[in-house]
């Protein structure tokens, strides 16, 4: 056995599934009630994650320690570290990474380490609510529950880039609408548990495709069948469009750069080109939303997505 194999074997040994006796705050952002019911009733059958993912989890725990140390070094007091929470009425449990003591206020926060790609992707709480990955979408629900449970008006998700070590702070105001939605979900889970029933699953590939209970849930797959067009002309047009794509991107890049350089210059001679410009005034109307709503009409358009499926 190589050293790497031994390490991975040790990771593998850590992977265990424990009984689930409550609705975990960190998981309640998952919108499928059936998933949660199965998590409580058939947790033994959950597909376990692999050693590679375990390695990422372990690294995340290490980073959490680093984040706490660096907050301490920065003189930011952290209290109630790893304090467990329980909301008995809804059978919700969780534990919070800590609370920051800022200007006499306590702010619940959760420390998250992430890849450089995710670090760049995250800009605000919306980018998490609509996150690219299921786990990102669970973060706001988790933090919101901590805020609800601790009567805090705002909370913080502190992200650390695992490669560069840089930080990004994503603040969140308490979201009562999200809170109500989450608590209703918890109530629905608890009701099914009490009555011994299993709800219908959601039908959303975003959540279903990698669901660890797919082999228990057995959701039917209703595929939208593809229509194959035998049209060489259209196929050639798409190929040509693809060939031109880099040029379009370069064109807009240069155009943006030129706009920046030449803004405010009324008449310029440069190389083979003469460039003129002037300020144009544009009138706009700030109409209150309720007035605008009265004049709203619904139109429709065909939204298409072109994706290359084969390389030949």
């Amino acid at each position: 056995m190589t050293i790497v194999e031994k390490i991975m074997e040790a990771k593998q040994k850590k992977i265990k599934q424990f009984p689930v006796h409550s609705n975990r705050a960190s998981d309640l952002g998952h919108p499928c009630v059936k998933y949660h019911v199965l998590n409580r009733t058939r947790w033994q059958e959950k597909e376990l994650h692999d050693a590679n993912l375990q390695a990422i989890f372990d690294l995340g725990n290490e980073y959490e320690q680093i984040i706490m140390k660096e907050l301490n070094e920065a003189g930011i007091p952290v209290i109630e570290q790893q304090r467990p929470f329980e909301w008995r009425e809804y059978q919700i449990t969780g534990h919070i990474d800590g609370k920051l003591l800022i200007d006499g206020k306590t702010i619940p926060f959760d420390a998250k380490s992430c890849s450089p790609f995710v670090f760049d992707y995250i800009q605000d709480i919306k980018s998490l609510v609509n996150g690219k990955y299921p786990y990102l979408r669970k973060y706001p629900t988790q933090l919101n529950l901590y805020m609800l449970m601790s009567n805090s008006e705002c909370g913080l998700l502190l992200f650390k880039n695992k490669v560069s070590g840089q930080y990004k702070e994503i603040w969140m105001d308490i979201d009562y609408e999200l809170g109500e939605e989450t608590l209703k979900r918890a109530e629905a889970i608890n009701r099914h548990l009490a009555e011994g029933t299993t709800p219908e699953p959601i039908d959303d590939p975003f959540w279903c495709n990698d669901c660890p209970y797919v082999h228990v849930c057995l959701p039917p797959m209703d595929g939208k069948e593809v229509e194959i067009l035998d049209d060489d002309k259209v196929a050639a047009m798409l190929d040509r469009m693809d060939e031109l794509k880099p040029f379009v991107q370069e064109y807009y890049q240069i155009d943006d750069e030129l706009k920046r350089i030449l803004e405010g210059k009324e008449k310029v001679l440069i190389g083979n080109w003469i460039i003129t410009g002037k300020w144009i005034e544009k009138k706009s109307y700030d109409i209150p939303a309720e007035v605008r709503e009265k004049y709203a009409t619904v139109t429709r358009y065909w939204k298409r997505n072109i994706e290359k499926v084969s390389v030949d």
């Binding site: 597909e47 797919v214 039917p220 797959m221 595929g223 069948e225 593809v226 499926v309």
Partner: protein
């Protein structure tokens, strides 16, 4: 172009199973035949596109033939809109505390429906758990095998079987794969690390490479070194290549792989004497794959 298409059509045969046969006559029969023809043609086209959609990483080599992994099959299924429904699984108890899960599914596309099953046994080496005591590998009892893993693998196996059967992607040859998808055999079986040119440079230490495949044979040769010391050299044959090791443990893993038909991943370096094994690993396939 037309000739090429004809050739491509020959590659994959439609595997259409109608769920019932209704007696018909006259024009209705002609219409039915025309419908069936259109259906076969549609499925054949989808099969050709399916192959072109795949990447080398979607395939593994099993018994010298390319085998589409479940992840690749699911990718194709999503794109073409294959529908399915799966029955509740059946669990059977086997001797020695082992068990087997079987799923049955119904897969449809372009009006054709087929049935497929997928099963996985806890006896599969992929699920076995081991502990190492004084450097010796010891197999843990079946109670230590995670039933959820076996169950999920059976489900995945069913999905993979259904999709590949429906699309007729089960008996593809390397020639077909290269002709239609441009994927060559060496892209599937060899995962190379580092720059090949460096490996060919005798002054540079050889970069480790990895091969994934099935063990054809394990041979043993005993001898004495010049210093008079006994040695045992094991030769593990994968495909047409030979990989050498002095490790009895590695030879045992290879033997087990050969007996169970489980693919192995061999990490090796090459020199003027051949390929020398650095490590060998069982069960490189994903849970749910056939084999």
């Amino acid at each position: 172009m037309e000739q090429e298409r004809e050739q491509e059509r020959e590659i994959v045969e439609a595997e259409v199973v109608d769920s019932s046969i209704v007696p018909v006559a006259g024009e209705a029969l002609v219409e039915l035949a025309a419908q069936a023809e259109r259906r076969v043609e549609a499925i054949n086209k989808i099969k050709q596109y399916s192959l072109r959609l795949t990447q080398p990483g979607d395939w593994i080599d099993q018994n010298g033939r390319p085998y589409l992994q479940v992840s690749g099959a699911e990718k194709i299924a999503r794109l073409f809109g294959i529908s399915w429904r799966i029955d509740e699984p059946i669990r059977e108890e086997l001797e020695g505390g082992h068990f087997i899960y079987t799923y049955k599914g119904y897969f449809s596309l372009a009006g054709a429906e087929i049935e497929a099953i997928g099963s996985r046994s806890s006896k599969d080496p992929f699920f076995k758990r081991y502990i190492y005591v004084n450097g010796q590998r010891k197999e843990l009892p079946p109670t230590e095998i995670d039933p959820g893993d076996v169950k999920k693998a059976a489900y995945t196996n069913c999905i993979g079987n259904g999709i590949t059967r429906l699309l007729g992607l089960r008996n593809i040859s390397y020639d077909d794969l290269e002709k239609v998808a441009g994927i060559k055999r060496e892209q599937i079986t060899h995962i190379r690390y580092g720059d090949k040119t460096k490996q060919d440079d005798s002054t540079t230490p050889a970069e480790p490479q990895e091969i994934v495949g099935e063990v054809v044979d394990v041979r043993m040769k005993k001898g004495k070194t010049k210093a008079g010391k006994d040695y045992t050299l094991y030769t593990i044959i994968v495909g047409n290549d030979q990989y050498k090791t002095f490790s009895e443990t590695q030879a045992k893993i290879a033997k087990e792989a050969k007996e169970t038909g489980t693919p192995v991943a061999i990490r090796f370096t090459s020199d003027s004497y051949g390929h020398n094994i650095e490590s060998i690993e069982l069960g490189v396939r994903e849970p749910g794959e056939e084999g």
